[in-house]
Symmetry: C2
Amino acid sequence: MAEPYVVRFEEGSKEDQARLGGKGAGLAEMTRLGLPVPPGFVVTTDACRAYMKLGGVFPAGLEEEVWQAVGELERQTGKRLGDQERPLLLSVRSGAQVSMPGMMDTVLNLGLNPATAEALGRRAGQRFALDCHRRFIQMFGNVVLHLEHDAFESILREERAAQGVASDPELDEAHLRRIIDRYLELVERVSGGAFPQDPRRQLLLAVRAVFDSWQNPRAKVYRRVHGISDDLGTAVTVQAMVFGNLGPSSGTGVLFSRDPSTGARELYGEYLAQAQGEDVVAGIRTPRPIAQLALDMPQVHRELERVARLLEEHYRDMQDVEFTVEDGRPYVLQTRAGKRSAAAAVRVAVDLAHQGWIDRAEAVRRVTPEQLDQLLHPGVHPDAANEVLARGLPASPGAATGRIVFDADTAERLGRQGERVILVRPETTPDDIHGIVAAQGVLTTRGGMTCHAAIVARGMGKPCVVGCESLRVDVQGREVRVQGGVLGDDEVISIDGSTGRVFRGSVPMIQPGMGEETLELLAWADGIRRLGVMANADTPEDAELARRFGAEGVGLCRTEHMFMARDRLPVVQAMILAEDQAQRSAALDRLMPMQEGDFYGILKAMAGLPVAIRLLDPPLHEFLPDIEELAVEVALLDERGEQWSEEYQRKSAVLHKARQLAEFNPMLGFRGCRLGLIHPEIYRMQARAIFRAAARLVREGVDARPEVMIPLVSEPREIEAIRRDVAQVHEEVARESGVALPLVVGTMMEVPRACLLADRIARHVDFLSFGTNDLTQTTFGFSRDDAEGKFLTRYLQDGILADNPFAVLDREGVGQLVAMGVARARSVKPAVRAGVCGEHGGEPRSIAFCHQRGLTYVSCSPYRVPLARLAAAQAALEG
Amino acid sequence: MAEPYVVRFEEGSKEDQARLGGKGAGLAEMTRLGLPVPPGFVVTTDACRAYMKLGGVFPAGLEEEVWQAVGELERQTGKRLGDQERPLLLSVRSGAQVSMPGMMDTVLNLGLNPATAEALGRRAGQRFALDCHRRFIQMFGNVVLHLEHDAFESILREERAAQGVASDPELDEAHLRRIIDRYLELVERVSGGAFPQDPRRQLLLAVRAVFDSWQNPRAKVYRRVHGISDDLGTAVTVQAMVFGNLGPSSGTGVLFSRDPSTGARELYGEYLAQAQGEDVVAGIRTPRPIAQLALDMPQVHRELERVARLLEEHYRDMQDVEFTVEDGRPYVLQTRAGKRSAAAAVRVAVDLAHQGWIDRAEAVRRVTPEQLDQLLHPGVHPDAANEVLARGLPASPGAATGRIVFDADTAERLGRQGERVILVRPETTPDDIHGIVAAQGVLTTRGGMTCHAAIVARGMGKPCVVGCESLRVDVQGREVRVQGGVLGDDEVISIDGSTGRVFRGSVPMIQPGMGEETLELLAWADGIRRLGVMANADTPEDAELARRFGAEGVGLCRTEHMFMARDRLPVVQAMILAEDQAQRSAALDRLMPMQEGDFYGILKAMAGLPVAIRLLDPPLHEFLPDIEELAVEVALLDERGEQWSEEYQRKSAVLHKARQLAEFNPMLGFRGCRLGLIHPEIYRMQARAIFRAAARLVREGVDARPEVMIPLVSEPREIEAIRRDVAQVHEEVARESGVALPLVVGTMMEVPRACLLADRIARHVDFLSFGTNDLTQTTFGFSRDDAEGKFLTRYLQDGILADNPFAVLDREGVGQLVAMGVARARSVKPAVRAGVCGEHGGEPRSIAFCHQRGLTYVSCSPYRVPLARLAAAQAALEG
């Protein structure tokens, strides 16, 4: 027998989330727990999927099931839909399996029309009924009939102005009637038909609108950003209305069973008197803290506290509860796992594990790698004397600096150009998502901790300050007024989402350490994970930092940055410009001790742990000035008749060499081990510097563990030849120094051919490190530098690619090569170590892939090491 | 029982080539046929391999076997090694399985020392014995003791000068004694020991030297160039001497059973009186044609003619026979398949098949693809009035133009820089091989048709003129004197290897057609092959040419060259520089009819056959001027205060756009289908032009078969989206024109990811074309433009790579991806066509690979189509 399309709250439970959506399953569960939930039913996601499959037509039987459930509701409430005495009013809300705040649409007060409003007014007061009717037309007009939200708001604004009142509750009955008339006129004018007054038709249209809203562009963007499948569909909850706008002892609010910023175990939330549900979430009026309710209605507050505790224990997680107080009686309208800051996530998880409500594995599962990453976001340095412009609510932790932008499109455009921007808005709406994605941080003048901007920014780990009411934002005029001054859109500000402060200009930042709970959680993660976590570090400072963050060694130490250092570059250039072997050797002789010093520091910082040092990788022309600039300079000197000047001679010579070395496609050019094979003296110098530094340390009693890594191998004979050379230097240094360290040589797997020939390559190496950045470039044939600016963004927008392959490892293509490489290498050398270095090594989904495919380790930037430890543990728990 | 290390001629046959080498097996076979072969034996390749494996030590038992065989020889000849009355003299020669002319070393007259020379003198004349002794010391000294050839030659020159004689035969006994003394002194001084006078020791040293010579650098180069395994080893033939230098009725020569240039069935060869074997091959003295012998010694000539006929029939192939006439009696010293020109190869193969000596498959096997290619080499236009500088012997057909170079190193250096050079030498030696490889052609002033330069050049298919005695080459002075004039090494000459003419400057060339025999052979090949052969053609002219050469369609029609045409480029640039959609559309509207015309012509030329048209592939910046030049021009205009000029404005604008479009790695950049997806209007215009041209042709009664090919696909959704677009245009044109052609869409497989995801890609296409040039670039991570100049040559020299992967398809890496791509595509669409286009499609080894892996077709340049047809047939015969 087919599953029913409609499920009454009494019939469901929290296990039915896939069919009932998160909201519906929560309401069903709370109904079972005996909590005060207004009765209702759920139209399931099965119905939505069937509707989508039929191309926007209700499946057979759905309507009948809905009317049956409505009938049941009418029996439960003693009211009837469309009844002219006791009209049943409904709240119709979407509820997908995964919470998508602000993404989907809601209609309250459904069932109202002139006749039922009149009846409602008779029972609960005319003004209240008119307020409900006004709200209903506006919501239904916007959500179901697709009229602009602002078209209604501007009527409201005009009427407020005309009446000289500041807020909606001040509007009287006459005003509201006038507004309702104007609303109905507006709907008729714009939609070309009368407003549907039949409550049954209203209900079917609303269900259809919820189903349709699953496919609206902002929902799609949200799902893409959060990796949610487009196929899930949404459920619709239909519930008897309770009214927060019934009078001064009514209201609506949101509460958390803990503080979502810190995780502290205290009731937290906000309350807006004489308001309906969406008023709080939309952040249009600034609500009062929940503590206020304890003074105003202590009994209601106590009851809510009991509900929150009960739900937290029942769900074994911090809960985010929507409630409405109708005439002094609290109702629970929704419960879900509460969104939380990174710090709160860690604290709650560790806390619950200590309480014994969840085990350690579950605690490790409870914190996302992104949240952990957020904990390591920069904060504002406490000692710096910064000019505080304003203070708002600390809505999402971390600090950020950027140029002011006033709209999402500009944020996106400048962001794409690499500019750091702060999105400054009176409030944000779902239409601003792409701007929040592009911005470093978000600042709003309105809204509370649970407003749209706050929730979205927390989800993305972006610093956010909301409700900063001392700022006046003029979006049209592109300026912010503050303390008598004005900031334009060419000025830079900083925000601190952990404290709510806003600063003029950029401010000194600090890197926060990790709290005790984080360390504890990571220790649990380390006990679970099987994937090693190393760090990419090019300096002793980075190596120390990585070690503090728990890195088990350095998986990638790049040597080119050392060559680029201000004091080295002239020597490097002298080596490149050398006209004969003697000049080249002289330059290399000068570089050797410098390199030895570099390696000494890093090996020392990583004492007892391996350090894989990659020999020189970039093409030599990267160390020379830009050809175009040089050509212009030389042409101008020529034009000025200065052909005989020393400057002309020197620049001409450099230009000549730069032209000789210039390449059409440097990414695929004369670099990596190719350079090492044609100019073996460079790699020999580097190998010597490495082994000498290590020998010196060993003589000083330090356990130095250098490993030599050869970049860009495409052919087994390359690594064979270089290994031979390196081994010879190793032997020479051992002889000179009397210190015999083991020789460990690895190779970077960065081109497809290396993966295809990994069995033959493995014979010559002790480990393989997949350089997935370059491997992605060669597997796709995408130059990263060119692709991201020129076509990749469009590819992601148009759904040609689901993820940016430079951010998330492409499992289908690049991943296939990695897996092939590991399998082939292990077929001849079963114990060979294989890792991934590069940015994918610090990206959770890519880390999960590495775990699944049996890689030995990932290597990532020091700041991503904790994240990688957690992600690796979660991958182990998944598998 | 182990195989013996020594085999007497009587014991072997032509089947034993692997063990006896080509020379030894030939001598054995001729001995069995009862031909006049001086008796002897062969030290086998087994012995050589054992010797190499032991690191240069004779294997146990070898020496004993040698002395046994020598004993047998002594019995047969009635002479004894070292005997002071009737000394046995030996010729010791190398003989590998595969003929390696001039690569290996030979010692004649072995067994001589003062005492045996004295004895020989008593029996055959003192002067003769001294001449032999002189020759022996020189050869042994050079080949076995490794003294410089020139050290001996300069003594010889000094003595000739001192005696005032021009040639060696004029030297008298006293002179020769003096020369011998000086030779012995020289050996003692340079080698630090006395010349070995014991004949047995001489023999062992000579055998050892032959074995060692297998490993000498020039032999290795020859093997690498010709793809011969280093593991084969060489045999050594030891044979009783016969003497071509015994007097005027003695001599030595080489003859062919047919004319090696034309294949005509007439005795051909050269003869040098009073000379020993190597004098002819070395090309030091210019020999007389064999016809001369018919006049001088008619009976000898008749006997040789009989031998040649008999051997040709016996071996069923044209033979190259070495002979020596001793005192009026001819001896055969070697027979082998004769090297021949391409024309001769075809004629001989077809002729032998007609005679029924070989079947058609064997005839197809007998001609190498390279030979066929040579037939299509340019020749000098017969009608052009060119200044003929000189005439030499037409040693290897085809014509070439290039700058004069006088030594192999310079030829290689300039060749690597892309310069076309002609190597001009008095004569060439094996040390010049790398210069011949690098040159367009070879010109020598000495030597005959069988001299080193001639044989090597023919083998490589390079035009070659030898024995051009009217030229005087001064290698030191770097000039050629001719007809009172002088040519330096900065001048250009042309040579015609088919006629022997040398021209000043470059001359007009023609492309020869194919003769009837070639057409017949190719028809046989077509009957054998299973791989299709298509052509790459961008113009109607190319398409017609390809069709004449037997192409079964166009496998790749590039459209970018059409965009580059002088009249198109400004319109293309206008499209690129367009500031809005309207401007861009206007430019595309202008391009459309031009493109339609292009396609009309090509589709018409290929009526009845498919034409795969690749939509625009290169990045747009390729159509704009060079940034560096523009930047300099703009900077100079600025310096001159011309910022307000129209030129400055225009150039600045173009510079700005060019900078916007510039890419770090264009090869991996915004090109191919990426361009097509972001600017769909370009592909739509091209698709419309294709379908309109085809519709027009169909209405005119022409069977047009266009196919649309999408470049650089890396993701199935790319081809899916573009196919949708193209299908829409296809439908529109069908509606407009009323002509409904089938829609055929294919994709280029040019990046590894396409191969890895070929199953998903195949669902959207009708055919796959592997663009192995780009696939090689991405699989190796080699930019072709950069690699070849910067490291690939060294990689080949150092043996890191065996072949240039851009010339010969890399089976291990790139080939693996191609095979994977074909297999995966066919797993979902078993009949999907799959081909290789690009240069590999015209390279025989790559063609063989394509056949083996079941590809449907190859596509190559029109001139390589015949070669591809032959190579495909040969691959089918192999498999």
